[in-house]
Symmetry: C2
Subunit: 344 residues, 2 copies
Amino acid sequence: MRGKGNKRVTSVEVAAAAGVSQATVARTFSSPHKVADTSRAKVHEAASALGYVPNAIARSLKSQRTNIVGAVVPARGEYWQHLIAEISQQLAEQGSQMLLFTFAKPSEVASVVQSLRQYRVDGVLLASSFIDHDSIVDVAGLGIPAVAFNHPEALDVTASVSVDNVAGAAALADHLIETDHQTVAFVGGDPDTGSDRLRYRGASNRLREHGIVCPYIPAGGFDYDSGYAIAESLLRHFGGGDGLPDALMIAGDELAFGVMDGLSKLGVSVPNDVSVTGFDGLPQASWAGFDLTTLVQPAEELIREALGQLTSTPSTIESHTTVPGFVRVGQSTRRQACAEEGKA
Amino acid sequence: MRGKGNKRVTSVEVAAAAGVSQATVARTFSSPHKVADTSRAKVHEAASALGYVPNAIARSLKSQRTNIVGAVVPARGEYWQHLIAEISQQLAEQGSQMLLFTFAKPSEVASVVQSLRQYRVDGVLLASSFIDHDSIVDVAGLGIPAVAFNHPEALDVTASVSVDNVAGAAALADHLIETDHQTVAFVGGDPDTGSDRLRYRGASNRLREHGIVCPYIPAGGFDYDSGYAIAESLLRHFGGGDGLPDALMIAGDELAFGVMDGLSKLGVSVPNDVSVTGFDGLPQASWAGFDLTTLVQPAEELIREALGQLTSTPSTIESHTTVPGFVRVGQSTRRQACAEEGKA
DNA sequence: GGAGCGTATGCATACGTTGTCATCAGGTCA
DNA sequence: TGACCTGATGACAACGTATGCATACGCTCC
């Protein structure tokens, strides 16, 4: 296949070996159709003999395109980890790579943005509600295409792509109403995030239309532990298992897992004593142990849309795209009467 | 903070604005200690006025260092997703970034390696047992530092860092023995992977020393669904719930989750009817719903070691490092008699 | 006070590619 | 046969930074 492949091989050396000019070697790899078949063959032969691979760094310097997309995501959270692989896969399909930036605390975002600027990425995917508005503005001012992923509040300064949080939460509420749940409470992750607020709004508005008042209960985070911890508070707040509402709508799947496990540990049965819904549609929601009724975010479609925004937008139009999710019905919510009737 | 930050600003323009040479601007950002305080101040002032950020692409071209580490990881699998964030965080600490390459099928690795070569990354982290040997050899021949992560078989061509699979499995076996389990079976993920084989070897050897013969049962994958599906086969194989061994050692945590849920669905109680151990130490293993007895891989330490190999190795020494894990005792294995005695 | 030395800076070049421009071969058409 | 076009190729100048080399400056020490 290739020689020792040890030393740095440049297009100049390949050109010499192939008996053509350096420019022809370059063209062979960047725009092959401009090179005669015979030359192309010679170049490829010489290239593989020498173990030549075009230098993307030099290419990027000259062409001002890196074929790299930067992704800024939180270090923790099942949801984000779930997305990263999908992003990477889709980028690979279109011949790009993904430079990953994670942050544990929102305060780290600023330094991350610095790195991003240095690397002259073609675009930036800001994936989190936890990125503060200032940082978004910072990125928007960079002059590179940016799209906020599931960050509905950023729509004034940058493009954004989100699942339809309001409609999704409403759809979940509809499901609860159809299955005859009379009292519902909403367990939020972090009221400072747009996703949280929109989901609560979608749920509570729809429920109110049906005469159900839905209180908001903050869990203090979207993580499993927050959910596990809030379970006890819930019981206390509602005055024991009997006082619980018919259903708990939880702002995120991971949080819901925690709540379910927490309730279970306290002797509360899901869905017999209380129904639980999530939001995200993580793979784990389908695991038999949880089998969570949740709103599935169509990850593939969301990301495809976001990447489309990155590559197409002339960095001037700020569009706000919303993608509908769909309800996955699991065993975490009880059905009205007979088992086969719950279909909407 | 900065001006309009729209146009491309180069060190030359900053130099002009600051009244120094381009070289001084460059030095201000790459080796500040070589620049006088007064000049540095002038440069910084001019830089932030113009919104200048050093161009990492150009820097890389000249310096032959990209400060980018490539990571090749499978697209699916809770374990890998769990590691990605940690890798990224540690790289950020040392001022590097992570170029992420995911692959869904082993056949995709070849093209990934091509991309890697183009980008002249400083090092490569090969994170998977699923990467075939040929690809490893390919990467090893690239002349860039590479380290195989949890791929014990690659030790002849490249450095590698792994948890001590044999000792870890043996430690789990010890725990089972101490808690008076008499019959044990091992559920493997994929016998073609080194991790799987080493874990089985560690477990079965230790068990044999205590007169226990441990059969190997292949699940066909390390994923949740494989585990869930194998549960029924297990029951059939052992002739129903009563025929089950005292304990099942599962090759990986995610697989174990599937087995536990599968068994539960079939009316088998863990740990009353059968104890279950995992391997990996995923965060989810600590979730109350599973509370899995497992071998925790010290992710932070493993990655620190791997990255150390990348940056320090002069790409000649191929060292094989093994890091010990530790047993996490959960509720998925029953304890002998009193609850407080199970400590090793 | 001059030799010697260390520090700060400027100049010029190189990193490996892309893209523009000019050139040249070969074929068509009048 | 000469003018014209098309397609392939080569020469050359960027892209924005790092760095070796030379120089100028400010010291100390004899």
